[in-house]
């Protein structure tokens, strides 16, 4: 392979000279800060990652990254130097639901950073490091086998690549069924598309979709990871209308203590909401959960999180959904909800807790809670559509005044959300 032909003999000589002096160059100790000004040691472009998918934070600043291509969950124990407090970032005017764009043109800026065009940028997930309020996103350059992963953080509106080399790292392989040594005339590679990872009390819970089995397999892995991995794989069924039971992949999950016991709440494609006691999820077990809600058919859940309403101080579950409004359900109802099915007629649309869900106008591709008053979203710019932004969005209505309700700012204008009244509450509450 010849890479210097276009330069002719002159360039060839120069390149050889560079190679000859490179050892000397690196030995110039006074100049070493130049190297530390930027990214990785040679060769470790993406550290141990083969792909960068779902993200979650655990205790002690541990960032979990789901790696579908590498069939693993990675744990990066971020150091204090990897984090920058964003507490001083202006998030908007909470009193009238007016957020701010924290990063405009996210996809275009990522493309510039990674030396490509924005159609080659895929933003897979976003997570907030709560103590610092710093936003982390998982990104890939490219959409095929040549895709290169990166973790990018937002520092006061600027995008910074998280330099993975040097961060204490461990990983757990996602167990697959053992592969018999069959010799086939062609390859049938199995893959497990990790859809969610959550940390709870010394364990991570990993869900995903297989390209071959339509199964509901949940992996339960202790963290810190041990050399001898003890993982637990559970097959999960859910009942259908009192007559059948079936299996499906969990798309999003959340672990929450309700009624004094930890439970796993799972949302599937076509959005049944299912409840499992964590204690039942034992290795090798086949478990059937309680369907406690149906959030609407023909849709996919995007994010599943909880937040505390700054007005009534109650905790709510929020499920954002791709083709319809997001669902808001009181956490207190999750434990007491009667399991479906009831045996009666089933509506086409929300059922169970889905019937009492609050609908919120979130159209974001990713949503995370930033602090008690603000969420942060990655969304297509509502009026132009051609660019992806990271913006703040005020809780608890997740409603952006800038998107076209500016008459609410008029002295005698409409006030459909009684925000003036809430503004008073907020003022009284300090």
């Amino acid at each position: 392979m010849k890479t210097t032909s276009a330069f002719g003999t002159h360039a060839r000589r120069d390149v050889l000279r560079v190679a000859a002096v490179s050892a000397a160059g690196l030995a110039l100790s006074g100049l070493n800060p130049a190297v530390s000004q930027s990214a990785f040691a040679a060769g470790g472009r993406s550290g141990p990652l083969q792909s960068a998918g779902v993200l979650a934070f655990g205790p002690d600043n541990v960032l979990f990254v789901g790696d579908i291509r590498g069939a693993a969950i990675h744990a990066f124990a971020l150091r204090t130097t990897d984090l920058t407090s964003q507490a001083d970032v202006e998030l908007g005017n909470f009193h009238n639901f007016e957020g701010r764009d924290l990063v405009r043109g996210l996809d275009q800026k990522l493309a510039a950073l990674f030396g490509t065009t924005y159609d080659k940028i895929v933003v897979n997930d976003m997570v907030v490091h709560q103590p610092s309020q710093q936003i982390f996103i998982s990104v890939e350059r490219g959409r095929s086998t040549d895709a290169l992963p990166a973790i990018v953080k937002v520092n006061h509106g600027r995008l910074e690549v998280l330099e993975l080399d040097g961060i204490p790292h461990s990983q757990a392989g996602i167990p697959n069924e053992p592969d018999p040594k069959a010799m086939l005339e062609f390859d049938t590679q199995r893959s497990f598309a990790i859809t969610d990872v959550k940390y709870y009390n010394g364990e991570i819970f990993v869900t995903g979709v297989s390209n071959q089995r339509f199964a509901s397999t949940l992996h339960r892995i202790p963290y810190p990871f041990k050399a001898q991995m003890e993982t637990c794989t559970v097959e999960i069924w859910h009942p259908v209308h009192g007559e059948f039971e079936t299996r499906a992949p969990i798309i999003r999950q959340l672990i929450k203590e309700v009624e004094g016991e930890p439970h796993l709440f799972a949302v599937y494609g076509c959005t049944p909401l299912v409840r499992f006691p964590l204690a039942a999820l034992k290795d090798g077990a086949h478990v059937r959960g309680d369907v406690i809600g149906e959030l609407g058919y023909g849709s996919n859940p995007i994010d599943m999180l909880t937040f505390t309403d700054p007005f009534d101080h109650k905790e709510y579950l929020l499920v954002t959904i791709d083709v319809r409004s997001a669902s808001r359900i009181a956490v207190s109802d999750l434990g007491t909800a009667t399991p479906e099915p009831t045996g009666g007629p089933i509506d086409f649309g929300p059922g169970g807790l889905g019937k009492t869900q609050g609908l919120l106008p979130i159209k974001a591709e990713h949503t995370e809670i930033l602090n008690p008053k603000w969420a942060v979203v990655i969304q297509r710019h509502p009026k132009t559509g051609y660019r992806l932004d990271i913006s703040s969005l005020a809780a608890p209505y997740f409603f952006e005044r800038r998107d076209g309700m500016s008459e609410m700012n008029w002295p005698d204008g409409p006030d459909p959300f009684q925000y003036r009244q809430h503004r008073d509450e907020i003022s009284r509450g300090g």
Partner: protein, 385 residues
Amino acid sequence: MVAGPTLTTPGVARPVDAQVTHQPLLMVDSDPGQPVMAVGIYSLDAAFMASVGRYVQGGGLLQSVLRIAVGQTGALIGDSLPDVFGRYQVLEDAIRFIPHFPFERGLSYRASFDPRPFSCPELSQVLTLEFSLPKDQDALPTEVTRVFPSSDYLPENVLRFYVHFSNSMERGRVEAEVSILGPDGEPAPDVLYRAPVELWDGSMKCLTILLDPGRLKRGVGPNRELGPPLKVGQEYTLAIGSGMIDLSGRRLHNTFHKRFRVTEAIREHIAVDRWEIVTPVIGSREPLVLTFPSPLDWALLSHTITIVAADEGLIEGRTVIDQGERRWSFTPALPWAAGSYHIRVASTLEDVCGNSVLAAFDRPLRPGRDLAYEVANRSISFQLA
């Protein structure tokens, strides 16, 4: 073969001032030990490098001196875009930039070297260089090579298709390009499942397409409301649009159609005891042949059936799946010896409708909450004597 970089402006940028004895050169290069193409400013004299050292030690950033940006970003935002991210090397007479991710072939980049922060009177001219790396030669056009299930007759509750392409593909196009055409030739609505993540294998040559399980499963809302996605006796077409994009950015050579006629649904577990077995002759390398009453899942079939000897040792050999995934043949690496053998069938094997060895895709509700640990594999024994 990879060709060298193409330069849209003269390959080496240098100052026009002929008085300078050392002429800095801004150029693209590659460290012989590394595949990553880098950009460097070379032939810097010792006095200049000393001022670089002072600049860096004083907290100066080389990012503001040697900058590389994408030439044509297509960006439409007002904000300024960041430069390409990478690391810097300071050599004896040069500064090099190595991008975090390799420069992309076919894209143009713009490098600029601005020596003004160093306050060297003899070197104050900004140098710029545009470059791009040629794209690899296009290989053969990409096409759909195979689809499973391969039969032209599929049950009403068929769950999934595997679509094979001749090259690796890009993700992100499936929802727009893959459809089931109804008997009228128009796309049938709400038939396919929109997976939250497109289901590709590691090579990105095999795509898994699911029909909407909510319409396949009895009792689930969409099934009760809309009925099953396919109707018995009708003819449908799985259509893969030519807008699917391959690894090198090209569309498919042709739109691909697989036509099939719909037969009665299958709603029972895989009955292993109804398989036909043809056992081989001792001392031969004849295949052991299993024939199934209805098609099984092509991918799962390839790794869920194994042959073990009486001592539980795995028999190595080669598997062929044919006759519309209704026949599985196993040719051993060594001739068959006398003795007893077991055909092990993993409980995870499914048919084309998602019915497993254990139960139908949608099984009748079992009583109780803690369900039996149904993980036992099925086993069929045969004797060669």
